[in-house]
């Protein structure tokens, strides 16, 4: 049983002459307990792929299932709810709220999702693993790009989601941090049985992945 299953996904943007075929017959599965990596160059359709897998936009054809539940049969509200409870997004634009301290960034999700979030000791451990525990009471403006990125990673993991979808999570990190984040994501997949999907052009993450896919011009293929 796959945590995420995409079947024959096609996605077009634009109309008539300017119509572009961004995703072509995508078939993809991700399993709980595994870190799946989708590698491709800029413009290959990675972000589009990830947003469709996470229920943020609708494909023109094909099926997305999370835990065998067809995603696009749900109402928009039900999908909101599903994202809040089951999916953690780590996005390229981390967009932390500038008027909340690092610690307060988590409390918003806590207000909406009352149960199943990380305990404060688990959060403490996570922040330490990410090397941002000492910045808890600082505002995003006081952090470097890499630190902000790690706060965004912690924010996605705070709700303890079954599925983590990450878009270029290492874009702002130096090699040392890339290793740490790669290891952290791989460990999370194993130890907490999460399905983690990372789309990236960062080849350095290859070493931590259980499954590696390549995406090129909207076509996805598994590499050995």
């Amino acid at each position: 049983m796959s945590a995420i299953k995409l079947t024959n996904i096609n996605k077009f943007f634009g109309h008539k002459a300017s119509r572009v075929h961004v995703l072509r017959d995508i078939n993809f599965t991700a399993e709980a307990g595994e870190l799946s990596l989708v590698i491709g160059p800029s413009g290959s359709g990675k972000s589009t792929f990830l947003t469709i897998a996470g229920g943020l936009q609708t494909p023109n054809s094909g099926q997305v299932e999370l835990d065998q539940q067809p995603l696009y049969a749900l109402t928009a509200k039900q999908r909101d709810n599903l994202r809040l409870n089951k999916i953690g997004f780590i996005l390229q634009a981390y967009n932390l709220l500038p008027y909340l301290t690092v610690r307060e960034q988590f409390s918003l999700a806590e207000r909406v999702k009352k149960q199943g979030n990380l305990t404060s000791s688990a959060l403490e451990t996570l922040l330490e693993q990410l090397g941002i525990a000492e910045f808890q009471h600082q505002y995003p403006a006081e952090l470097s790009g890499g630190q902000k990125q790690r706060v965004a990673i912690a924010r996605a993991l705070y709700t303890n989601p079954e599925i983590v979808l990450a878009d270029e999570p290492t874009a702002a990190l130096d090699s040392e941090r890339v290793k740490e984040v790669g290891q952290l994501l791989a460990d999370l997949a194993k130890s907490q049985h999460k399905a983690i999907v990372v789309v990236t052009h960062d080849l350095r993450l290859r070493d931590y992945a259980d499954q590696v896919y390549e995406i090129l011009d909207g076509k996805i293929s598994k590499t050995a």
């Binding site: 972000s47 589009t48 997004f89 390229q92 008027y99 709700t159």
Partner: protein
């Protein structure tokens, strides 16, 4: 509320400026409302104290008390206990050592209900044709009981025997005297009885082609300048409300535009739109209500500092209604950016 408060605390300068705008607008609206009310009261105070329902004027007076004159032949032979004559004439009051004061002389018949029901603040009611009771504004201007005054250019002297509160008609203080005194000030013969007949009952009328009957409301609305003044104030206050709506809407709009990216990410995480809309609306509420509290405090200080002769009435229910109007304005202002939040597309911040 959580997001709204955190943001206001973090961006103190920005939000203080917005609150300052709301303070100024609400202060201006409160003061204008009080001034409008004060002036309106100075037009109608005396009429309201008479407690009348209807007024009869000459057919041709065009609802103007000063244009109306009733002869013996035009009025009923005998008035019931619910009716009274009033004789009105504008006068200038003079006393040696005091400033000249424009006033309205109102002549009354001492047996009729207006004179009978009159509540004085000091002194007694006129007992002779040379005695008058005057509005307390005379007292505030330095006049005292027993003082002799001259009215208009007549050589006749009148003696102030009483003061009465809130005796104002058409923004002028009233000098109450007898109908006989009115006749001599108006320079008319004994055949003329009064300017008008007023009645405590709403069905007062006589079969008489020479008289025309009006409700008190109709009469007040036709007081010279009264309606024009009220609609001028109503327009000013209305425009200020619209301006405050625009100010609040524009500020929240700009602030929301700056936050849309963040909101898009929160929506991607599954934070419901209503949480974000709630933050915007409660932010508008916090801004408007804190602005109103400071504006109210300023208004209260102004009310304390204002000299008594400035026609301002600080009426709590009316000011409360105005404040409520501003809160509603704030909510409406917050609804414009709300539409943007509802439409924000999480996909817009993903990729790049």
């Amino acid at each position: 509320m959580f997001l709204a408060l955190k943001e206001i605390k973090h961006e103190k300068l920005r939000y203080s400026l917005i609150i300052a705008m709301i303070v100024l607008i609400s202060y201006l609206i409160f003061i204008l409302t009080s001034l409008a009310l004060g002036l309106a009261r100075e037009n109608t105070n005396a009429i309201e104290s008479w407690n009348i329902q209807r007024i009869a004027l000459s057919q041709d007076a065009n609802v103007s008390l000063s244009q109306s004159l009733l002869t013996k032949q035009q009025v009923p032979a005998k008035l019931s206990g619910h009716e009274a004559y009033i004789g009105q004439v504008p006068v200038v009051a003079k006393a040696s050592g005091e400033p000249k004061t424009s006033a309205q002389f109102i002549g009354l018949q001492s047996q009729q209900f207006i004179a009978k029901n009159m509540q004085l603040a000091a002194g007694h009611k006129p007992t002779t044709n040379q005695e008058v009771v005057v509005d307390t504004s005379f007292k505030n201007a330095g006049y005292h009981l027993g003082q002799k005054i001259r009215l208009s250019s007549t050589s006749q002297q009148f003696k102030i025997v009483g003061f009465i509160n809130n005796a104002k008609i058409n923004i002028a203080p009233i000098v109450y005297g007898t109908l006989t005194a009115w006749r001599s000030l108006k320079n008319v013969g004994p055949n003329l009885v009064a300017s008008a007949i007023v009645s405590q009952t709403s069905h007062f009328s006589q079969k008489n082609d020479d008289l025309k009957y009006y409700s008190t409301k109709q009469f007040i609305n036709k007081l010279p300048g009264y309606s024009a003044q009220n609609s001028t104030f109503a327009f000013m206050i209305g425009f200020l409300m619209i301006i405050s709506l625009i100010v609040i809407a524009v500020f929240l709009y700009i602030l929301t535009v700056q936050k849309l990216q963040n909101y898009a990410v929160l929506r991607a995480q599954g934070i419901p739109a209503k949480t974000l809309v709630g933050a915007t609306i409660s932010q508008a509420m916090i801004l408007v209500i804190s602005g109103l509290i400071i504006g109210t405090a300023l208004t209260a200080l102004t009310a304390l500092a204002m000299p008594a002769n400035v026609p301002m009435t600080f009426d709590l229910p009316i000011l409360g209604a105005v404040a409520l109007g501003l809160v509603v304005t704030g909510i409406i202002g917050a609804l414009f950016p709300t539409r943007m939040i509802l439409r924000v597309d999480p996909v817009s911040v993903i990729g790049g």
